[in-house]
Each structure stands twice: as structure tokens, then as C-alpha cells.
Amino acid sequence: MIDNIIFSIVSTWQGWLNGSSLLFYGIAILIYAIFILIVTSIFAYIFGWVERKLIAKIQHRHGPTFVGKFGILQNLADLVKLLSKEHITPDNADRILLTIGPILMLAVTTFMVLLLPFSPTLQATNLGLGLLLIFVLIAFLPIIVFLAGFSTGNKFADISAQRSVLMLISYEIPLLVVVAAIALLSGTYSISGIVSAQAASHWYILLMPIGFVVFFITMLAEMERPPFDLREADSELIAGWLTDYSGPYYALALFIDYTRMFLASLIIALLFFGGWSGPLLPPLAWLLIKAFIIALFTIIIRATTVRMRIDRILRLGWTWLLPLSLLNLILVYILFVA
């Protein structure tokens, strides 16, 4: 339905512009990108509110109640507050890196969301190597954190930046091995291809539960969700790489946090939970519902567990996740491919 609307808007525009096809394509992508950004923002907003409410429920509190009905406008109020604050650049900070760090991060994250298919028709492009491209781009995020952390000249941010790189080497390989198993099982690197392969057989969570566990843990680490939120470990590093970000940039960083969560839950929903397949509701709705339920689990994990330590994450990555992901690859090969 939404894809039809977008398509009709774009074709009207094409009529107006007497269509050179490159321009047409560019405009279509732009409109699609705006649409995706709106969906992302709505998801991020609702997710932020639900996170606050759910954590409050777990902790036997009420959570936000004052701004709007059930405190639904609390995050908006926070946003307004943060936007109205001054952004202070510390003296010994690298001004350029400090500024572009969060912006680059938002750009990479939204770009990845843009590359994901939302329904059989609602997708920017059906890349044959979409799966690989996504995971190449994901590996950029810790590097941007590293740059932004070092740029502020704050020692807590420095430590956070170092942790960021350490974490990268601990879980990136198991993640890619699971991705390899997915590609092996579906026979394609295209994400919509993987979704249709799941529709033809079963959801991949049923076919490779070990792979799912490894993938879920690594995605939690990738998205800095507890218990792997070492980069912004508030009890030790104050706010980690965000310590010297203030005002609008901090708001941006919080928004990126929720966008990354959206991205991670979308990827998990697409690769393991059959993507948009489901009865009655339109495909986009199914995908968002699945993503949201996955995001809820991360909230529960966040509320109940204590933080892991950096050397333990390395140990977990190399002694548990890597062997498990390899086992998963072998099992997938023996059971379903050979």
C-alpha cells in the first residue's frame, strides 16, 4: 500500500520532469529515504517510550507519567530540552572529528536501514550482495565510536574508544560466520532472497537455533546494548565516548542509539523470523511487529543484567561464540546442504 503511494508520487514527478531516468531514480531514492527516516524516527520514539515504561514496570516504578498521556511526550520534552542547550566543545578536542562523529554514525546507520528490504516491493534496491554490504557497514560503527571517542580529548572517552576496538575484534568473526551459515542455507546473499527462502522452508531460528543465539548476542554487543554497553558504561566511564558531547549532539547520540536498535531488530527479524511473512496484516506491519518484539527482549535484558567486563567479552567471543558459530556452520552444512 505504502509502496504504491510512493510509486505513484514518484511517477507523477517523473511526468512533470519529463523523466531522465537517473533523475527519476535519484528522486525516488530520496523520497524513499525520507519515508524510511520517518519510519525509523517513529519506531525510535515509540521504542524509547516503551523502554522507559517497561524498565519502570520491571523496577516497580511508574516511569514517565507527567508529560502527555502516560508520559508519551516525555522523550519529546527531553529532546526539546537537549536541543535548547548549548553545545560545548572542549579545548583539547578535535573540533571536526567531534562534530562529524555522531553525524557520520547516523548516516551509516540510516544508510544500512535504507539497504534493508521492508516488503517484497518496498525496498530501495535489491542488491545481490546486500547481506555482505550490511555487515561490512556494521563493522564501521565501532570505528566511528573510536574516532569520536578520541576526538573529544577526554580520558574516559579514550578508554571507551579503546574498548570499542577491543569489542570489535571479539565478536565480529562469530557474527560473520553465522552470516555465512545463513548464506549457505539460503543460497543467496540478497536479503529479500533470504526472506523468500524462509517462506519456502521454515524460519531460520528453527533451522539454526545455535546460530540465532550467537547472532543475537553479537548483535547486542554490536548495538552497545547491556550487558555489552561497555563503551558507555555509566558506572565507570560516566558516559564513555559521549562524555563530552552535550546539548543537540547528545540528543543526536541518543537518537542514534534507538536507530541502531531498530536496525538490529530489523536485521534479526529479516534473517531469523521470516521477515515480512505473516497472515492478514500487510508485510510492512509484520516486519515492524517482529522487530518490535525483538526490541522488547533487549529491554528486558537491559533491565535485569549487570554489565560484562571487557576481557570477559573477549573470552566469550573467542571461546564460546566462535566455536558455536563454527559448529552452527557445520551443522547447517551437514543437515541441510549436503
Partner: protein, 363 residues
């Protein structure tokens, strides 16, 4: 290459206003230098200008997590200077209130420890629910919610209300259930176990030579509790054990608090059963008469954070000199020894396991 970072005095997990100058090599702590005194109010000097019974409110502010225990320690010191006995029922009342205070304090510890290990305040909120009920009970008994000032010479200001025993029993069985829940919740969490087992080891010899106090000492396998070693009130008549752990690490220091919570529950139950009827009210110092000049008394008490010793030189009008040996101070002094060589993240869980209250450190 080591980096020197400054943590505090305003930092999410320094338990008030503690400043730490930490040398780290990457993520490993090389040296910790605590800088204290941000909460120093000169209480020891201040009491020299106050009448004897004007001082308990100052004493309570020394430990805002367990105010009643400091109150009691001070009043016991004055009683020792006067040489008076506490009425028998009042001894039971005091004991019950002190143990309730210990429960409230140790519950706070559980929440703060999880917080320091990076939990999103969940445990903190849960234990505060329980702590609140303990405080409500204490409010029933004393009329105040936080700073009780319930001790009078030879007794207490208010006897327990008639339905106290019943309410208390109800609360204790509730607490027992909740403590079991917390224990299961934490000890079945592999991340919690990983973050506490073998972290921050303080061997028995080091514990002795550093002079650490209270649960930290007992977690290093040394069975020393003032309540057993130099019994006061009716502790020797009641049924309880000194909780000892031999793990010497963060886990032992967490576990000892859980065990002490159970022991306190046992103590209160026993005390409620054995409590005699009679008068528990204390008297004014005017009725008792002034203490002798230059009488030196030392009283030691087992506070929730460890052994507190009060040294007082008396004077007819006001304390001539009061010196307080604070358990938090000696425990903080051991921080560098314990945390050296540990990870930066563990520095904070170690600090949480020492259960510091900065007002008590700075006095």
C-alpha cells in the same frame, strides 16, 4: 604507558563525594589514591561545644544509611561515662531496632553493588521497596523515618507500639522470601558470578594488617564480630552465628551481607520472643547527674559497616574529647591494596563491595 584519570568527586558511582586519582594502564588499575574530606564537618570537634544529649543528631548524620547505629554507639559511650545500666526491656528494644537498621543498610548495599556493576537501577529499586517497609516499621517504633534520635540514657524515648511484634514478624517473613529471591536472582546470573568470583581478593593476613572492619574482615575468613567477641546488651542470650566467608573476594563480601541479613532476621525473631515486659524509657541526664571529670571511656559497637569505636574523655558539662574510629575509613584505606591490578570496571564493584558511606569516612 599509564594514564592518570580523575574520578569524582562528582561521578555516578563514588558513593557520595569521594575523589579517586587512578593510574590505569589500558584497562588495568595500577594505583588508586583516594582523596577524602569533601564531607568533613568536624563532628568530633563540634560535639565538644554541645551538651551531651544534643549530640545524637550529629552522630546520626555520620552514616545516613544506618543512622540509628551511630546514635546508639554514642549514647552507649555516654552511658559508660555515667556508669549506668540500660533497662532490660530497653536492651531488647534497642537490639531489635539496631538489627532492623542493619537489615535496611545491607539491603541498600545489595542495590548499590549491582548499580556499581552496571545494572540499570533494577536491584536498587527492588531493595528500596523492602528497605522502605523496614523504615516504616522503624517509624512506627520511633516516630521518625530517617534520623531517629531514639536513644535516651538507660533506655529509649519511645517503647515499641503494642502491635509492633506482629507487624515485625510479618515483615521478617516477607524479607526472608525476598532475600531468597535476590540470592537466586544474582547467583544464577553468570555475568554477576563472573564479575564477583575471584575479583578483589583480600587475604586474611592482609585484612588483618590493613585493619579492615566488619563484613569485609569476615569475608576474608576472620571470625570477628563485636556482638560475639565483646557482647553488649542481650546479644549473648540470643541465638545467632557470626557469618564468615572464606572466599576473600567480592562474592564473599556480597555473600556475607546475605548471611548477615538472615542472622539479623533470626536475632529479631528470637528477641521478640524473649522480650520481657516492663519499662523501657530512658531518663534525662539532669536526673542522672553529670559524669565525672576526665573519665576515659571506649565503647565499641558492631555497626552494619563494621566495628566502630568511640573514645570519649568526659567532662561534667559536655564531652571533653570524642574520637570516632570509623569502619568505612579503614575499609577505604584498603581500597588501593585490593584494587591494584584489577580491571577499571572492577574498581567500582570493589568499592561497592566495601559499602562505603562518605560521611562516615570524613566525619
Amino acid at each position: 604507558m599509564s594514564t592518570r584519570i580523575n574520578i569524582g568527586p562528582v561521578h555516578p558511582s563514588t558513593h557520595g563525594v569521594l575523589r579517586l586519582v587512578v593510574d590505569v594502564d589500558g584497562d588495568t588499575v595500577k594505583n588508586v589514591e583516594p582523596h577524602i574530606g569533601f564531607l568533613h564537618r568536624g563532628v568530633e570537634k563540634l560535639v565538644e561545644t554541645r551538651m551531651y544529649m544534643q549530640c545524637p543528631p550529629y552522630m546520626e548524620k555520620l552514616d545516613y544509611v544506618a543512622p540509628l547505629s551511630y546514635d546508639e554507639a554514642y549514647v552507649a559511650t555516654v552511658e559508660a561515662a555515667l556508669g549506668i545500666e540500660v533497662k532490660e526491656r530497653a536492651q531488647y528494644v534497642r537490639l531489635i531496632e539496631l538489627e532492623l537498621q542493619r537489615i535496611a543498610s545491607h539491603l541498600f548495599f545489595l542495590g548499590a553493588l549491582c548499580n556499581d556493576m552496571g545494572q540499570m537501577f533494577t536491584m536498587f529499586m527492588w531493595v528500596f521497596e523492602d528497605r522502605d517497609r523496614v523504615l516504616e516499621l522503624l517509624q512506627e517504633a520511633t516516630g521518625q523515618r530517617m534520623f531517629y534520635v531514639n536513644m535516651r540514657l538507660g533506655g529509649v524515648t519511645m517503647d515499641l507500639p503494642p502491635d509492633f511484634g506482629e507487624n515485625c514478624m510479618k515483615l521478617l517473613s516477607h524479607l526472608e522470601k525476598r532475600i531468597g529471591e535476590y540470592q537466586r536472582y544474582l547467583e544464577k546470573n553468570p555475568v554477576f558470578m563472573e564479575r564477583t568470583k575471584g575479583i578483589g581478593v583480600l587475604s586474611a593476613e592482609d585484612a588483618k594488617s590493613l585493619g579492615v572492619a566488619g563484613p569485609v574482615l569476615r569475608a576474608s575468613g576472620i571470625s570477628y564480630d563485636v556482638r560475639k567477641a565483646k557482647p553488649y546488651y542481650v546479644y549473648e542470650k540470643l541465638n545467632f552465628h557470626v557469618a564468615v566467608e572464606h572466599g576473600c573476594d567480592n562474592f564473599a563480601r556480597y555473600r556475607i551481607r546475605i548471611m548477615e541479613l538472615r542472622e539479623s532476621i533470626r536475632l529479631i525473631r528470637d528477641a521478640l520472643k524473649k522480650m520481657p515486659d516492663g519499662d523501657a524509657l530512658g531518663a534525662s541526664i539532669k536526673l542522672i547527674g553529670p559524669p565525672a571529670k576526665n573519665k576515659i571511656v571506649t565503647v565499641s559497637r558492631e555497626l552494619p559497616r563494621g566495628e566502630c569505636m568511640m573514645y570519649m574523655v568526659s567532662d561534667p558539662q559536655r564531652p571533653y574529647r570524642l574520637s570516632i574510629r570509623s569502619p568505612c575509613f579503614v575499609n577505604l584505606a584498603a581500597l588501593n591494596h585490593i584494587a591494584k591490578g584489577e580491571r577499571l570496571a572492577d574498581l567500582f564493584s570493589i568499592m561497592g563491595s566495601l559499602d562505603l558511606v562518605m560521611a562516615c569516612v570524613d566525619r
